[in-house]
Each structure stands twice: as structure tokens, then as C-alpha cells.
Amino acid sequence: MQEFDYLRPRNVAELKENLSQPGARILAGGTDIIPQLRRGKSAPKILVDTSGIRSLRFIEDQGDRVVIGAMTTHQEIAESQLVSDLNPALRIAAESVGSTQTRCRGTLGGNIANASPAADTLPPLLVYEASVLIQNLSGEREVPLESLVIGPGQTALEEGEFIHSISFRPLTGRWGSHFIKVGKRKGMAISVVNAAATVVLDKKGSVSKARVALGAVGPVVIRCRETESSLCGKVPDRKVFEKAGEQAREEVRPITDIRSTEEYRLHAAGVIVARVLEAAAEQARGRMG
């Protein structure tokens, strides 16, 4: 592994100082950056280890929003009752990341900053229209998650900035949310394609709001807005969702790579959109308004 210096801030104030140095990069759970360092794909001068900062590791219900600290691990999210109650899609996604060993190290902030098109936690956060609190030495800003991830491995984070926390508004009324992933096998697999959806039903049982996001079928995780609006007012049944799956295929741009082909991804995307919507609608139906 190449050489670098290592700093371990004890709190956010020290982190801001450390990160303002040129060539500094965050080491969160290390599950992506350590392999990158080994392959020479990343060459930071300084690694700033954020694992010692307790105040970045929390899951809180703040009334109108659920807030998750950037250093919260996938395992903690997968085991959180709060997440399970308020964003079941995110719980399922966190549980499907890698292995126990990976989940005990990998963090939510790391998953976002790594900006993989196949990141499992991104679709469930996008369908909840999550926002990200970003800080640096001179202040902070809050941006929609959708505008933070701008390309494969690329974010709009500026030098010296770091992700403090991620937040989303829980759904109300008759709602459901779900996540489905297709990989080579059930464990340890990087998604060939993944999808999350939320469905909110009105009193008559028609769709009043739907959100759909697909991963690994474009340079970034994609919100399928045409699909979402086509569902509004529809009485949900299998046919409607299958049609939504077909619509979603029009909104993605998959490629062929080592994990799968363009054709397979396109086909599977439509299938899992239909399934993920059906599961979310089923959940919504079971919920009292």
C-alpha cells in the first residue's frame, strides 16, 4: 500500500481543522478506500480517520425528520427499530450490504461519499428525498442528496468539506416503502441492479404519491420521475406496476460491465420496479390511514 499520513480527530472541530489541509481525505469505515489505496486508485497525502468522533454516530427521531449521523454503520442501521419503523427500505438495503464484516465497518456517510452507482443505501434515501448536511471550517450547508452525487465516484463535496449527517422526512398516512436488489448471490454481492420505492395511498386506495429510484443502471442512482407521475391516481394492481416497470426502463441508461450486461440490467430493472412497488403498496394497504 502507498504511503500517507494519518490523523485521528477526536471531535468535529478537530476534523474541520484536519480536513482543511491540502491532500486530506476522510477514512470512515475503510471498506472502499482501503482497496482503492491498495490498487493505487486513490492517493491522499493524509487520511483523516473519523471513527473516533462519537457525535457523528447516531440515529435520531427529531419529530419532523429522522437524522442519521454520517459515521453510523450499516449494521447499526440494519438493527435500528427506528429505521425499520420509518424507512423499511433503508433497513433492508443496509442489511443487504456486503457481509457482517463489511456492515460493521462501512458507514452511511461513506456509502454516499464513495458515490458508487450501485450503492445500496442511496435508492431508499432518494425515494425519501433525503438531504445531506455538509460542514467545513467556515460553516455548513444542506443539499438534497440527489444533487450531491454527480457521477460515478464523484460528489459535489468541495475540498475540506465532509458529510455530517443525512436526514429525511417520514411518510404519513397509508404509506409503504421497500427495497430490492439483484446480485450474483444473496450475500457479499455488489448490486447488478437495485430499486427502492415508496407508495402513499389515499382514502379510496388510489396512489396519491409514489417515488421510485434505481441503482446500477446509470452513472448515478436515478429517480424515475415519469414512472412516479404515471402512477398518480391509479388503483394499484399488478398490471399498473408492470406498466410502471416498463416505463422505468425508458428512464435508465444501463451499461455492460464486469457484473452484468446492458440487456439484463434493463430487463431486471423493469421487473424489480414492479415488485418493489407492489411490496410497498401492500404495506400501505395494511396501514390504517
Binding site: 485521528r8 477514512l27 475503510g30 457481509s99 457482517t100 450475500g187
Partner: protein, 158 residues
């Protein structure tokens, strides 16, 4: 190259070491402390052969940097048996021949130990899920899963 002085507990024993930034826990264990029970498989976080417990959680030691270890506690396969007495889990592995070449065994034992500590009476599916990050290329997994199930009835991880 920056070096860091770290203090950590390894299998209950205090260690004070001077480590370079880019050394991993795997090499601290194998090369600096001579604890070669922890195996080097893929060095990419894929195979689980190097699994140890870090502050009680199973992690791939090839994915942890040495300076991160300051103030932490590590348990390796050498730290499972106490005074020559194997844990019920280790006994079950031996009893059921859940070992063929043995290379994946230390990692399997550490992942299964973490599971049994968290969930003393797991279902077979829990066991399969807990071992998803540990590859074995020869036993076919069934005996390993059986051994963990047996251990959950005979005393678990301790």
C-alpha cells in the same frame, strides 16, 4: 513515512507498538505479534479468512489500518480457548469435521463466535447469513453450519 505509537489489547494482553500508517491489522497480528492463526486470503475484504473481533465486532483485519487500533481491543482465534480448553464452538468444529484444509477455519470461528455472542440460539438461516462473508473452497459449508448449530445447543461461543 509517519509512524504511530499505539496501545491495544490483543487477546487480553496489552501491546504497545510503533506502526507505519499503511500497515493493516492483519500484518500487525501476523508479522509483528506472530499470531499467524489469522489467515491472509484475498487482502480485499472479500474472503473473510482474516476475520477477527474488533471491540467485539467481526471485521476483516485486512481492511483495518494499524493506527486505527489505538485504544481498541482485538480478539483473534488464538484468544478463543482459555487455558487449553476449547470453546464449545471449537469443540463442535472438531467433532463434526467442519474443517478440511483449515484455511478458512479461523475466520469462520470468529464470525460464528460473534454471532453466538449476539444471538445464542440462532436459526440455520441466521448462521448462513452470519457466514456470508467467509468463503470456504472445500468443505461445502454444510458441516460448518451444522457445527455452529450444535455449539448453540452445547454452550455457544464461550
Amino acid at each position: 513515512m509517519a509512524h504511530h505509537m499505539i496501545s491495544l489489547l490483543v487477546n487480553g494482553q496489552k501491546e504497545k507498538l510503533l506502526v507505519p500508517s499503511n500497515l493493516t491489522l492483519l500484518h500487525v497480528l501476523r508479522d509483528m505479534l506472530g499470531l499467524t492463526g489469522t489467515k491472509n486470503g484475498c487482502e480485499a475484504g472479500e474472503c473473510g479468512a482474516c476475520t477477527v473481533l474488533l471491540d467485539g465486532e467481526p471485521v476483516n483485519s485486512c481492511m483495518v489500518l494499524a493506527p486505527e487500533l489505538d485504544g481498541r481491543e482485538v480478539i483473534t482465534v488464538e484468544g478463543l480457548a482459555k487455558d487449553g480448553q476449547l470453546t464449545p464452538l471449537q469443540e463442535a468444529f472438531a467433532e463434526l469435521s467442519a474443517v478440511q484444509c483449515g484455511y478458512c477455519t479461523p475466520g469462520m470461528l470468529m464470525s460464528a463466535t460473534a454471532l453466538l455472542r449476539r444471538k445464542p440460539h440462532p436459526t440455520q438461516q441466521d448462521v448462513q447469513e452470519a457466514l456470508v462473508g467467509n468463503l470456504c473452497r472445500c468443505t461445502g459449508y454444510q458441516r460448518i453450519i451444522d457445527a455452529v448449530m450444535v455449539a448453540s445447543r452445547t454452550g455457544g461461543a464461550e
